[in-house]
Symmetry: none
Subunit: 201 residues, 4 copies
Amino acid sequence: MIAQKKNNEKYEAILNAAVKVIGQAGYHNAPISKIAREAGVADGTVYLYFKNKEDILISILRETIGTIVDRLDEELQGMDDPIASLKRLVTVYFETLGTNPDVAMFTQVHLRQSNAEMRKQIGEIIKPYYTIIDSVIAKGIAAQIFTERLDLRITRRMIFGTMDETITAWVLTGAKYDLLSLIPQVCDVMIGGLAGHSSQK
Amino acid sequence: MIAQKKNNEKYEAILNAAVKVIGQAGYHNAPISKIAREAGVADGTVYLYFKNKEDILISILRETIGTIVDRLDEELQGMDDPIASLKRLVTVYFETLGTNPDVAMFTQVHLRQSNAEMRKQIGEIIKPYYTIIDSVIAKGIAAQIFTERLDLRITRRMIFGTMDETITAWVLTGAKYDLLSLIPQVCDVMIGGLAGHSSQK
Amino acid sequence: MIAQKKNNEKYEAILNAAVKVIGQAGYHNAPISKIAREAGVADGTVYLYFKNKEDILISILRETIGTIVDRLDEELQGMDDPIASLKRLVTVYFETLGTNPDVAMFTQVHLRQSNAEMRKQIGEIIKPYYTIIDSVIAKGIAAQIFTERLDLRITRRMIFGTMDETITAWVLTGAKYDLLSLIPQVCDVMIGGLAGHSSQK
Amino acid sequence: MIAQKKNNEKYEAILNAAVKVIGQAGYHNAPISKIAREAGVADGTVYLYFKNKEDILISILRETIGTIVDRLDEELQGMDDPIASLKRLVTVYFETLGTNPDVAMFTQVHLRQSNAEMRKQIGEIIKPYYTIIDSVIAKGIAAQIFTERLDLRITRRMIFGTMDETITAWVLTGAKYDLLSLIPQVCDVMIGGLAGHSSQK
DNA sequence: AATGAATGAGGCTTCATTCAT
DNA sequence: AATGAATGAAGCCTCATTCAT
């Protein structure tokens, strides 16, 4: 019923158009007709590739998170240093969003415009990324570089919240500066906190 | 044109109704008619107190943040201990949202469903709270309890992001546990970070 | 939620417009916009008086059958003669539809354009009319004027089917002749059948 | 432009698929795509055999009525007994629809979902069957078994209406009982009417 | 100040039909 | 003959906002 998704240029075109249009106008100000026009297809064509409008949102997130998770799974494998791992974690995330303000805008801002039903799906999609964060934390504790006193969930929220907030601030102020240049300081704060005798050089 | 707002019970009723209805159904599933019915007024009456639907959103945030800022302004005045100040910062925020899931749902989730124009206003409203965060950080640095290496903006985002993420997770999972009980650990992570030799007991 | 229905001229206007538009164009070629325009109201207004498009269909039928049933309930009360009763049965039905081709077209033709869900409701609405037919048949059998050999359901279908078919033919050929003038012959055939030694004068 | 229809298995396949899909889902819930899938052909292929969707509807009816008329033409030829002829008339009709609920559903219910243009064509198609009914009536009158007082058109409508109503009731209640078993009583009522001194045993 | 009936623009989605392959 | 991806018109319905009372 739904046309072949992968390896199809129209599928990609619609997804890219959606990222752009939603990123700039917001989910609820992005009519299908606008997305279709941006993608260069007819309105009806969108429904050959996506079940409905929500499906577009979900698909974008899936692709974005999927990319990040795949890269991290690969890069973190066999990496022992927890601090280096954390840095990779942040870097991959920042790189993915920091080089594409539309995607960042989409992920950080408009994705929030979802109903309860969708948030459930979103939660499922993001879970693998959370799992990776958790494993980095665990790695750090095992190496006795991160304190064992840490509450896993709260620590994870600190890490994710700090990145989230940083990227959101960046994109909402116009993505004018280089997001990647903030990585050292972001990691520094994460590791050392406010009291901060971190091992940063 | 707009009726006297302050000290008007209908103004309050509409605001409370909006928090409840939007908090539970979401901004885009919260027709004015529903809010009006919940508030016990006619649809048209809403427009005697608010310019439009967005104005309701903004007003709720203004009241909520206003309450928090007012309390903090008062409580932090004359408080020297930066760590105690940070704890107040978190506590007041958590108390305000943690005792009212509708407000939390509204602030953490549905408020995000806004367009560019609104986000500008939202930014303005939140600014005073950011200022307070900044002053607590500055206080800690001055007392040489927080490391001077801190980048102010990033640190602020770490603090805000951690709280934000924690409350969002709490409210999205159904507000089933006691949010306030997390305060010590949240502060702990903020102060000590991952490496964590914090001064928490 | 739905505005006061009875005694409301807009409710009547929409219903009449719907009968006219649907009667002429068919249910599936009668957009709400056309009905609204015919009724002299805005599209949205229709939804203040009816839950949805199907509700309009149901309501028309309810009103039409209701009128017929009410008249028959009254007229047949205390009437002993089964043949006279049958004649009233046919007459009231023919009068109601025969003086209003749009209603006839609606009832005989377009009402059939319904889905399973609606047909259930339609069945419920028509039931009282069937009950009246049944009681006339029973009356005739009790008076030994109708043969007791009759199968109730099949007889009812003969009566209803004959009227239905006659009116449908009349309306589909343009309602050019006087439907009421057929009443004697219709009753005659019903009473005497093909073999026909009926008691008609 | 239109492919050779007769003796083409795809033509038959589409027609059968259409009967099934429309019979179960209704004309307006039976997209061409669904019919095509059921028939095992591509959407576009349907248009090689049928001018448009309406043409499918018309064709089904033509085939169905054609079958009935062909059988009756053959069977009634040389049959003198009007009552036996009537019985054949009813039996063939009931057999054709009674052994195939999808066809019955199609003919009795969904075929009604047509516009003015189509009804004209439908009328043309059914005409031969009406002619047969008329000839049976004439045969009965000539044999002085049916009363000569009969109005031809109204009598025909009684016969057709009774069958129509009976089959519709049968199919709409789920085709749960044996339609054919009703034939005697249906004929009985047709012949004797309500007063009923029919010659049925 | 308050009401709530009325408006009408706009969005999502379906689907009959076409046409390049 | 056959395919099925693509089209785009059209329809139902929602809801923010207005305005006569």
